[in-house]
Symmetry: C2
Subunit: 346 residues, 2 copies
């Protein structure tokens, strides 16, 4: 696709106030939510997504209680937005249909359902509910490096069949290089047809979040995610205020005001985060290994106790295709690596 | 070039201890230099460059006095390196032939001469001196976005004629996108022939430093620069410990040990820098405008005094093709923008 000829519009979807929550253990205050939402609205960012990092209904002892409950989060951001749409996120199992009803009652414009890339059927009931409610439902396939382009295309088409009006992929562990993204987005665009917008959401573990997002747009994705200063866990998400002017320079239209966007990012750096994301060693290793970076704390703890290199643990978890929810594997892998080390030393 | 078929070797050149100095006003201690050089050597990084940020002989009141003089810097790093080569950098005008003699006496293996991209003739005398001394002389064309691919190819060929054994470009203001880099490196490779290694040095203002470096390698560059954690002024340089595994994944060989490299980066984050680089608003704007980010402090000061938006100043400096040494232009531009604002308000 030649953006300069077609003047293709890319719709920017900003999950700073949802995915960014992971970097601060879901502790964003109502004042911080309001301030950023106002700044994003003033900049003309089309969609502002808000919530607990794991989405609607996920605030819990297990993954962390949010400082602000779903009701107050949604009403605060709703009030702050004059032009931007409000987005919410739901992981089936964490959130329920009741959470969806509540979000719609609060005026959520776009509801994203996230599923593991080969488990689209888990989204069927929620997507059907949203379709019947007349709501704008989107579906994102997470950890998408764990499926082939053909599998992703198949699952994307299924999601559309269930009622998703847009569908796409998250590079949850920041594993992709640009040609990987182009290939996968191309396959999905071909499978769902031109009437269904395709989504890309990147992470920066291998320094490729902006380049991957550009590759996605060139392959036909028209909804691209980015967070202010890349706010997110580990290496962070695609840095929004870098992505937007790069897309514009390449001929894509976003409708966003550059100075307003830079102002919003400065607000975010000052008021939302202790410091912008840094790409540290374990973020790089988890990106290379294709492993969920949320394993980091538990890997460090278990590996430290057993005297095993946490980087070896990540690479081994990658070989075993570990996914979120399989934290027990960490214990097994550490024990096995510790035994191997003992053999080598003996 | 298909790296996976050819197993192309990329020689990594690490200017953490020279270009990184800009981020800490040239205040790296001898202990910090020694520690990082030892870690880089242990990781198998082929070339470790050291010096004042502006190179040999540049320590001065005007651009900042280094905490450690050239003699102690060079002897400290020389002692720390067992396998890696020691590189030095010289900007004609800042450094002299005496500085080159001193560096060679200290055992510098590679001497880089940096010139503005269309001023290669300024390097003629130094490159000739180094050729006659039998030293390994390289030449880099700075602010290379200000010249066309054909001009860069012409100047690269001239540098080879003067005695440079390798030649290449620096994306000094972080302005390039990957296709820009591929086009320019391709033109230079064609102009200098296969016997002369071609160099690329990136900056991350537009989030493209790693992607640009990969594009350079794919276009035939075989010497690529990167700094630990991207250590450097503003948005920083290409993040070395991300670049290396990405190049390896794409089939290029670097000979560097990944864990050793990650350890060196952790040492650098802990001992060299107050914090890793962040891509802030003015870094993004200077990258978009193609302006030397070293103007930042003076732009902020002059713009603040006159009540002008510093981002407007950067974009106007970009239109006027301002380069380092033309700081007087900042005052002119601020005065003109202030006058325009006055007219609008009146």
């Amino acid at each position: 696709m030649n953006a300069e000829d077609s003047g293709t519009t890319v719709l920017i979807h900003d999950p700073t106030l949802r995915d960014g929550q992971h970097a601060v253990r879901h502790q964003l205050s109502a004042a911080a939510l309001r301030g950023y939402a106002e700044a994003a609205d003033a900049a003309g960012i089309p969609v502002v997504e808000v919530g607990h990092g794991n989405g609607l209904g996920a605030s819990s002892l297990q993954v962390g209680r949010a400082a602000v409950g779903d009701d107050l989060m949604l009403s605060t951001v709703r009030e702050a937005l004059r032009h931007s749409k409000m987005g919410v996120f739901l992981l089936p199992g964490w959130g329920t249909s009741d959470d969806l009803r509540k979000a719609l009652a609060h005026g959520a414009d776009i509801v994203r359902i996230g599923v593991h890339c080969t488990e689209t059927s888990l989204a069927e009931r929620h997507l059907g509910f949203l379709r019947d409610a007349g709501a704008e439902a989107h579906c994102v396939l997470m950890m998408s490096h764990m499926a082939t382009p053909a599998e992703l295309a198949d699952h994307a088409a299924r999601a559309v069949g269930y009622g998703a009006r847009a569908v796409g992929i998250m590079d949850s562990s920041g594993h992709f290089l640009p040609h990987d993204v182009g290939e996968r987005i191309g396959a999905i665009v071909a499978a769902v047809g031109t009437g269904v917008p395709v989504i890309f959401h990147g992470h920066d573990n291998l320094g490729m979040a902006v380049a991957n997002s550009v590759a996605a747009a060139e392959a036909g994705a028209t909804i691209i995610d980015g967070c202010a200063r890349g706010f997110g866990a580990g290496a962070g998400n695609t840095q929004l205020e870098v992505l937007v002017p790069v897309l514009e320079r390449m001929g894509f239209a976003t409708g966003i005001d550059l100075y307003g966007l830079l102002d919003a990012a400065e607000f975010a750096e000052r008021e939302l985060m202790p410091a912008p994301p840094v790409t540290g060693s374990l973020s790089i290793v988890s990106g290379l290994a294709g492993v969920f970076s949320g394993f980091k704390h538990q890997v460090l703890e278990e590996a430290g106790r057993a005297g095993v290199d946490p980087r070896d643990v990540f690479f081994e978890l990658g070989r075993r295709q570990a996914i979120a929810g399989q934290e027990d594997l960490i214990v097994d892998v550490v024990a096995e690596l510790a035994a191997r080390t003992g053999e080598t030393a003996a």
